[in-house]
């Protein structure tokens, strides 16, 4: 491998690890980023000449550390603070010799801290843990690069100024704090699906980054079941991305999807992660949602889907994480084998939002059609079409009348 490629690969693989290590010592993400990017530049000029060092991560860390200290001395930092930072950074040298500790978990918790603006949490993770540049993050979230740059800058200033600790939360708080990390990761994944609906280029990239983050997280917290559940859910959904649209861009509903366009290796990986999660015997909403996805794709084996089990899973989800979406999906699952019972369940949802909830109307339309009430079904398909923002789905719904 040539030295340029090696440097690039190290940048990608070790960015988050080096940054997390530096930032957890200095409490200053922005300063750590500046130092690391200077170190990366130095690496890209030096390594092709002198060869890639045996431990590139340690090399980058030492080089970044030196730059960080120089920057501290240049700026008018109070001496006491500078001394503390020097002391903190000195411990890094000893650690570098025995192996670099992985501090990315602390960084993830800081990025998803409730004191950080919710809109900045996911971009912050993508930038600091995965090393994505602000421009790419901006385009993934469909905002102007300048806006995203400011959002990230404000978040980093908040971390530094408000004194957010680079710590793994205490056990009593861990579940809640991990849930913020999950939300931020799942938000990146959700964004990529919304973009896919609008046909944006590179929408899948963000989904892959979200999966990568979840892999990092579940590797760092091996006993945390929901992290694996989240990873499983995203893998099982992502594996069907290609099949959700026909080659001409038309919407394809789940039960009509071409199995040949499902990514079987990714499905398998998703199932494996879900099994790992369930062995920990700590059930949570992400695991249930992953189990539901797993059930949806089970027909690749024998063409069947266990509808009774599907309803049970939705019942469980309704208990752990009730939402209008889950109630509607549960009614659809009941209606798959018994449209009359499904319609009863749908009508039994006591929530004014159903009137503007697109899935409620689409489900209702399908159930009415199943009962032979075609006029009402047609009207419901129209209502659903009027409530979607996805053009392919709109065309599909109107074609069902």
């Amino acid at each position: 491998m040539n030295a340029n490629r090696a440097a690039e690969q190290v940048a990608r693989e070790s960015y988050g690890r080096v940054l997390a290590l530096l930032a957890s010592r200095t409490k200053d993400v922005a300063a750590a980023e500046d130092a690391l990017s200077e170190a990366l530049l130095a690496a890209l000029t030096q390594w092709p000449r002198e060869g890639v060092p045996a431990n590139p991560v340690a090399w980058l860390m030492t080089a970044s550390k030196r730059r960080l200290l120089d920057a501290r001395r240049r700026h008018d930092v109070r001496e006491a603070a500078a001394a503390t930072i020097e002391l903190e950074l000195a411990t890094l040298d000893q650690q570098a010799e025995v192996g670099v500790p992985d501090e990315r978990l602390r960084l993830l918790f800081v990025c998803a801290h409730p004191a950080i603006d919710a809109e900045a949490r996911t971009p912050l993770m993508l930038q600091t843990v995965l090393g994505l540049d602000a421009e790419r993050i901006a385009s993934a979230f469909c905002v102007a690069p300048k806006t995203m740059g400011q959002r990230l800058w404000r978040a980093k200033a908040k971390i530094r100024d408000a004194g957010i600790a680079f710590d793994v939360p205490e056990v009593s708080e861990l579940a809640e704090r991990v849930s913020f990390v999950h939300e931020a990761i799942y938000a990146a994944f959700g964004t990529s699906w919304d973009d896919a609906a609008e046909g944006a280029d590179g929408a899948g990239d963000l989904a892959r980054e979200a999966i990568w983050l979840a892999e990092v997280l579940s590797g760092l917290l091996p006993d945390e079941a929901e992290s694996k559940g989240l990873l499983a859910l995203m893998l099982l959904s992502e594996a069907r991305r290609q099949a959700r649209r026909s080659p001409t861009g038309a919407y394809v509903p789940l039960k009509e999807q071409d199995l040949a366009r499902w990514d079987l290796a990714m499905l398998h990986e998703g199932e494996r992660r879900l099994a790992e999660a369930s062995r920990l015997q700590k059930l949570g909403p992400f695991q249930l949602e992953a189990a539901i996805q797993s059930l949806h794709v089970a027909r690749r084996r024998d063409g069947r889907r266990d509808d009774a089990l599907l309803v049970q899973l939705y019942d469980g989800l309704l208990q752990l994480a009730p939402s209008l979406g889950v109630q509607v999906a549960r009614a659809a699952a009941i209606g798959a084998s018994n449209p009359r019972a499904g319609l009863e369940a749908l009508d039994g949802i006591d929530d004014a939002r159903t009137q503007t909830h697109q899935p409620w109307w689409a489900t209702r339309a399908g159930l009415l059609r199943g009962l032979g009430r075609l006029d009402e079904a047609g009207q419901a398909f129209e209502r659903a079409a009027g409530l979607t923002s996805d053009d392919a789905v709109r065309r599909w719904l109107l074609a069902q009348r």
Partner: protein
Amino acid sequence: MQYALVVYETQAELARRDDPAQAQAYWAPYFAYSRALAEAGVAVGGAGLQSPRAATSVRLRDGKRQVQDGPFADTKEQLGGLFLIEVPSLDKALEWAARCPASSTGTVEVRPVLAPPPGAR
């Protein structure tokens, strides 16, 4: 690190201070809270403030002093006082803020105390 826990209270809560039938019930949790801060060794300082009705605002514009009756901003929740604490991190400060009696009826804003700017003596 030092943080200010800035206490904002609703008019209804502030009014309880002036109601002889409720004043004791209003202050008791604050006494307990102040004691807890002191016993934990995190209390640095602070002060309760009188009602916004007692406030007077001053602005100097074009060299002229403008004095006005009332607080700076006419909002639903008003500044009631502040606590200064010394804790290692924001999370610890947030824990203490959640224990402040006003957190269940009003809002407690947590602000890091400004380090002396360069050149300050």
